[in-house]
């Protein structure tokens, strides 16, 4: 039971942190909860489907199906996070301002909602499918069987959600005028970290080169498998032994999304552009 709890907690943690950041980032946006709810539901269903197809995916595309699948969904998440951040940079001020109640604004506010719903769905799909596979593996090996494994799994999910809630209420303590900046930065770092993960899957599929061995090894300082290591892995993309390819992907993502955010920033307070591309 403890084994199931630990494993499920590990998997739940990443998804819980991502969902938390998204919830905090969209707190002020009308209709956001419905979209995120849809993303969560789609993610749970998707996790079941991916788990059922795990063997097929793993053995497809000359045995590189799992790597390609992971790379594609991670890149999709990076693009959605980037889109959200740039859009919010462009429109956040007007939405938080006096026009917030206007119907047109609520409508346009749903655009980045779709993006973040996709991100939430992807996070659940990836971690959820892993969890389902683990539980199957454990239940077949475990003498306690399904009741024991599911009990441990529920405990693990509970712990993961608890960490997410702690972060959420921690973020809400940040004054409203700063919260937008904080969540934008968190989404930017999250996107960069996911991009570094995505290129690693491309390297695993032998589509790109790692461009060399690990640039540094900080596992003596912070093990990626430890609790803090895992949390930072999700939040800022911490990797104990990053390869040149991963560092490039991280940097390029920061520059591209950060650069676009800078380009579209409203020129002066109260004069936000109204054009939604």
């Amino acid at each position: 039971m403890l084994a199931a709890a630990i494993i499920v907690f590990r998997e739940t943690l990443e998804a819980a942190l991502i969902v938390t950041i998204v919830l905090a980032a969209t707190r002020e946006l009308a209709g956001s909860r419905r979209w995120i709810g849809l993303g969560l539901a789609a993610g749970v269903v998707g996790a079941g489907v991916v788990a059922m197809l795990a063997d097929v995916i793993s053995q497809s595309v000359q045995g590189m199906g799992q790597e390609l699948f992971n790379a594609i969904v991670l890149f999709a998440a990076v693009i959605m996070l980037g889109w959200h951040n740039v859009w919010m940079q462009q429109h956040g001020r007007e939405m938080a301002g006096h026009l917030r109640a206007a119907g047109a604004q609520v409508q346009s506010g749903e655009r980045p909602m779709v993006a973040l719903a996709v991100v939430v769905g992807i996070a659940l799909l990836r971690e959820g499918s892993e969890t389902v596979l683990f539980l199957f593996g454990l239940a077949s090996a475990n003498k306690g069987g399904w009741a024991d494994t599911l009990g441990g799994g529920a405990l693990g999910v509970g712990l993961g959600v608890a960490v997410g809630l702690t972060l959420y209420f921690g973020l809400l303590r940040i004054p409203q005028r700063h919260l937008f900046k904080v969540t934008s930065l968190m989404i930017l770092l999250l996107a960069a970290g996911l991009a570094a993960q995505a290129v690693n899957f491309l390297a695993q599929a032998d589509i790109v080169s790692q461009l060399g061995g690990s640039v540094w090894d900080s596992s003596w300082l912070l093990d990626e498998g430890s609790l803090v290591g895992r949390v930072l892995h999700t939040l800022i993309g911490y990797t104990a032994q990053p390869t040149p390819l991963q560092l490039i992907a991280y940097g390029v993502t920061l520059l591209v999304i950060g650069g676009l955010m800078w380009v579209v920033r409203p020129s002066a307070p109260g004069h936000a552009q109204l054009k939604a591309g």
């Binding site: 799992q66 693009i79 390297a203 695993q204 032998d206 589509i207 061995g213």
Partner: protein
Amino acid sequence: MRSLVVGLSALAVLVVTGLVSLSAQAQETVFTLTIKDHRFEPTRLEVPANVKFKLVVRNLDNERAEFESKPMKVEKIIPGNAETTLNVGPLKPGEYPFVEEFHEDVANGVIVAR
């Protein structure tokens, strides 16, 4: 905003294609690990440092396995009675632990790059 998404994707494609040309390396050594009764054979494998290699993992058990090594940056599901090929490295000299994640208490080992 569509143009932004297109721009971002175009940049991603550019970066990827640029790197693909760099990854074209033939003649990689192949090493094999076997999983039986949720244990690895061998549990210690020496590989050359600083070159890419292929690692074939054979799962002789009926149950699904998941090969994982954070330091080697690989993670892969292997169905029961199947095998998979992993692209690993280049690894700097050192020890790289790996596990079969569903039975990591017994199914573990280390790759030594030298």
